[in-house]
Symmetry: C2
């Protein structure tokens, strides 16, 4: 079957039982791979209303069908689970080298169920697997966990996906980390910690071969040529995801908990500022973009600190919410989150929520354990991150995420929790970028930018059509297009930055898939689009089954009622209702936000109809 | 030439010039390798009175002739230089994997001279070499330096020998670290830092072949059988160097800056206590002993801290001087020293010197920057280590070592600096172990236990003859024997623990050397002893040339005039004068401690006679 072996390892941690599984030929055909398989597995395996911390919740680790080949930018690990932060279906992805290594070790994916009695880690190597004692790793940070597993198994090339103290302590936005890359969002790490699973380590020596080698080589060449011919490639290779210049110039850089859209002195944290601190580029398996940057500080409070990153979102998470452009703090906090195992977006955003409450006097030093939270001073962030990861003092509350924290605090603080379905917003103020906001509202995992990134509103991309970022018109259509395209590409777990830059066409992607797997239908672009839409709708149906409706496609009233007070997006509000209604229509969903039976039949999702 | 290729790389950092060198056949024959080559190179290359921080001071990194083969326990790197701490010739060794890797890369040794203008590191790989920019590594700890060099060069199996912040800041007892093993003593790291050399990284794929394979294989089998048949092997494999039980029971565990010989509650830091915290054994290339222990704390102030170690000496350095048996602190401080690049013995001992001064009111919180040093409380150690490595505040003074610190403080504090030739004493009170003390007095690098370890006084070994540890008689003879035997084995840079346990005979060692190098004389045990003695005398002549005499073979009057107040060594003093006189006689040295011309001629060291 070429680069996809259809070999999945299922591990029940409750009784240490292993089984090897294959998907049916029909499932493979109908869902292609990656996110397609992820949602199908989760939909089929989980009973409705399974508690995220029930032993029946699953944690599905998937590589894509192209991982481990020399096709570009398909190195990603994608993890699927029911989220303790959002209560929804969830997917979270990380680049690096883990997913290709899983393939080299002989597997396409690993499905974890149950809970171990004591901390364990899973060791997969060249077709073999075992659970090993992880008591000695429990409590250690992600970096040390990598080091000690490699030492225990005497192989420095082992790839490790693990949790840090945040995951162990079930911080609701704890992630899974591999070589300082994170499947950060939604609490995958908390579920893993709840299962007493510290890590999955992989090593393998088998080759991943394409079904049709000649056609595959031609398709890879086509992909590489397309990258080279696209001016975005060089620019993205150079500065990576650091786009604070764009978002500040457009007045959509969320500042002071989404009360302003421009960060003072943002030039100090834009791409060029990081480039000055760059030690070297870093990258993922089989990706010529090398968008990563290892940077370090040479001066100031954080001198000597280095990190692999931060990405744009992390930069924002530790500047915008605190209204302070301190590049050193972004580097130190990024490293700390990598060590502790925390999602930077939710961590920074939840801390920013606390900043606002402190300003308003709703919380005081009595609540924070003596820490003063004051706009313009981001230095408390380091201590707060540690408190969150270890659930100490004030950190124990923040570890719940902003929405749950607001619920517990009460006093009308819910409106200061800027999130959708419990997932904190990333670094785009919806008032300055309406399709971004609409995607946040309707993404099946809450406010995630990578589920349907509207590059059109930030970089002026004219595909599929040019847009006015403030306009409401056609944003439903655009958002559906962005979301389905993402789902389509995520059948191969393509890095989400690639479609944002228009580096890969669906045609070339289809050729890669078909040549590598030997399944001809995958070369049909219309088919790919259909599968993309199908995936998105099946995710939605997972959430519908959990009780989610249009009532959950909502956002803080701050964004829908308060106009942006200043800057290039001044005067704008986010027209949530209007946008969502238009979107449902385009999607073929009811006014309650539920896919109609007709739509479900069209997508061969009849089995979801109760 | 078999396992010794006679290929040395000389690098002048002042002008970035490289040259490859070979030793003459006569030198190879007369000095065998390792420490023999080290002292010969240093004696020949350095003009008398070269300042340790002069660009002409050399830093010689050597592997032994057996490194990289499967002969056991020869993995060590040995570094040679004129020491900024002692002003003497110096040698310092570290186990691990660096030296074998240097061999795999094609070289037997690296000779560093000059000073680089900006931070650099040396990269040696499969016969090639280059200097690379290390600006981005400057200021980073040893662990991160390993990580980032491996990342830069895209190879996780690269071996790195580097300095931490302590070496950069020329702390006089900064070491060179490789995979958490340290060539710790004497300030090799300070010299490396002074040369702006952050690291030497190695990687190679060549095989190290024996000249006579069959004979070599037989000799290795003989060695392995001898290990297996020796009961010390199993015991040492189990608990490693942790011998606090022995030294406390014997009342020679230096406590309160050598004012007591038994640590209260020493059971909390003996071998069995570490075994309880053990994560796993660790070891060096081609050594079946695996004496290392990776341990971690699960509870208390240092919960979550782990380290590879500590060794017995480190355990002592962070307990005895502070009179506090806190195992967590030993683990945390060991890790911190590995990160910062500090010699644990001199660090702990110098801090202990400060404890006594604080008790006596000679220094106060005004001097220490507010830190209270009080026996029974070792918690200030962590902060002090950081201050030392960065030469901040009070740490700047302690970074000079106890002898120089005492000189600067004055007020008669010299007697509280327990050192020989500036090198702080390790964990044996000379009053309870006279041959240990005599070795400290006469070792060519100051008070180093590994230069002539008197296992006879601790473990009751009857070779070459049984001794009374309190007796003066025959301690000159014993010390010469221990010292020459160590020098003999260090021609192969055998791990110093092996002769301490009597695991390897000179006969088997000779067979290994002869079969691997193809030089038959090396199989002659009498010849090996002669070379051992020769090395020791040439080192002495290096120091004599620097102006050292019997006046420098002295120790603090505390040990020679104050009797041990309590414990199993109660009532003992250290009879330094008597012991040294006897020793000189046995050595064939003058009463001034200078080898006689006759002795030098006997050892073919006429060239040292002025």
């Amino acid at each position: 079957m070429g680069s996809f072996r259809n070999r999945f390892l299922r591990v029940n941690l409750s009784n240490s039982k292993f089984s090897e599984e294959s998907l049916s030929e029909a499932t493979v055909h109908d869902y292609i791979g990656g996110r397609g398989f992820g949602v199908k597995l989760l939909y089929d395996d989980l009973k409705p209303h399974t508690d995220p911390y029930d032993e029946k919740n699953e944690l599905v680790f998937l590589s894509g069908p192209l991982a481990g080949t020399n096709a570009q930018s398909f190195s990603r690990l994608q993890v699927f689970f029911k989220s303790p932060l959002t209560g929804t279906y969830f997917k979270s992805a990380a680049g690096g080298f883990w997913a290709p290594e899983l393939k080299f070790a002989g597997f396409d994916g690993v499905i974890i169920t149950g809970k171990a009695e004591k901390p364990v880690y899973l060791w997969i190597h060249d077709g073999k697997y075992e659970l090993r004692d992880a008591s000695y790793l429990w409590g250690l940070d992600c970096d040390d966990t990598h080091t000690l597993i490699r030492e225990e198994l005497h192989d420095n090339d082992i790839r490790v996906a693990c949790i840090g103290p945040a995951g162990e302590n079930r911080v609701k936005y704890a992630g899974i980390f591999t070589d300082r890359r994170a499947a950060g969002r939604g609490g995958a790490g908390a579920v893993m910690g709840d299962k007493n699973l510290k890590a999955i380590a992989c090593r393998g020596t088998s080759k991943v071969e394409a079904a049709d080698r000649e056609a595959f080589t031609a398709a890879v060449k086509e992909q590489i040529t397309a990258y080279r011919n696209n001016p975005q490639f060089a620019s993205f290779s150079k500065t990576g995801t650091q786009i604070a210049e764009f978002t500040n110039v457009l007045g959509m850089y969320p500042t002071k908990n989404f009360r302003e859209g421009v960060l003072p002195k943002w030039q100090e944290i834009e791409g060029a500022s990081y480039t000055k601190l760059r030690v070297r580029k870093s990258g993922c398996h089989a990706c010529m973009v090398h968008c990563g940057n290892i940077v370090r500080m040479y001066t100031g409070r954080y001198a000597g600190t280095w990190t692999d990153g931060p990405e744009y979102e992390t930069t924002w998470a530790f500047t915008g919410p605190m209204r302070k452009a301190d590049i050193g703090l972004t580097i130190a906090a990024d490293k700390l989150c990598d060590d502790l195992g925390l999602d930077t977006i939710s961590a920074g955003s939840t801390i920013g929520f606390a900043y606002e409450l402190f300003e308003k006097g709703i919380i005081t030093k009595k609540d924070t354990g003596g820490i003063t939270l004051k706009y313009g001073d981001s230095t408390p962030v380091m201590d707060l991150l540690k408190q969150i990861a270890y659930r100490q003092g004030f950190g124990d509350l923040l570890a719940e995420g902003s929405v749950e924290a607001a619920r517990r605090i009460g006093q009308g603080t819910e409106k200061y929790a800027i999130a959708v379905k419990g997932l904190e917003l990333p670094a785009y103020d919806p008032r300055g970028a309406k399709a971004h906001g609409l995607n946040f509202l309707t993404s099946n995992i809450g406010a995630d930018h990578n589920t349907g990134y509207a590059g059109q509103e930030v970089f002026g991309s004219p595909f599929p059509f040019a847009v006015d970022r403030f306009a409401v018109a056609r944003k439903g259509e655009l958002t559906k297009w962005n979301q389905d395209l993402t789902a389509l590409f995520e059948t191969g777990i393509l890095c989400s930055f690639i479609p944002s830059m228009g580096l890969l066409s669906e045609e070339t992607f289809g050729k890669l898939l078909a040549a590598s797997t030997g399944i001809k239908d995958f070369a049909d672009v219309a088919y790919l689009w259909k599968v993309g839409e199908k995936i998105f709708n099946l995710e939605r149906m997972f959430n519908v089954r959990e009780g989610f409706t249009n009532k959950d496609d909502v956002i803080s009233e701050r964004l829908t009622t308060e106009t942006m007070p200043s800057g290039p997006s001044k005067g704008q509000v986010f027209e949530a209702d209007e946008l969502v209604k238009d979107y449902y229509k385009v999607r073929g969903w009811s006014s309650k936000g539920i896919p109609t039976p007709a739509k479900l039949k069209e997508l061969s999702l009849e089995f979801t109809i109760k």
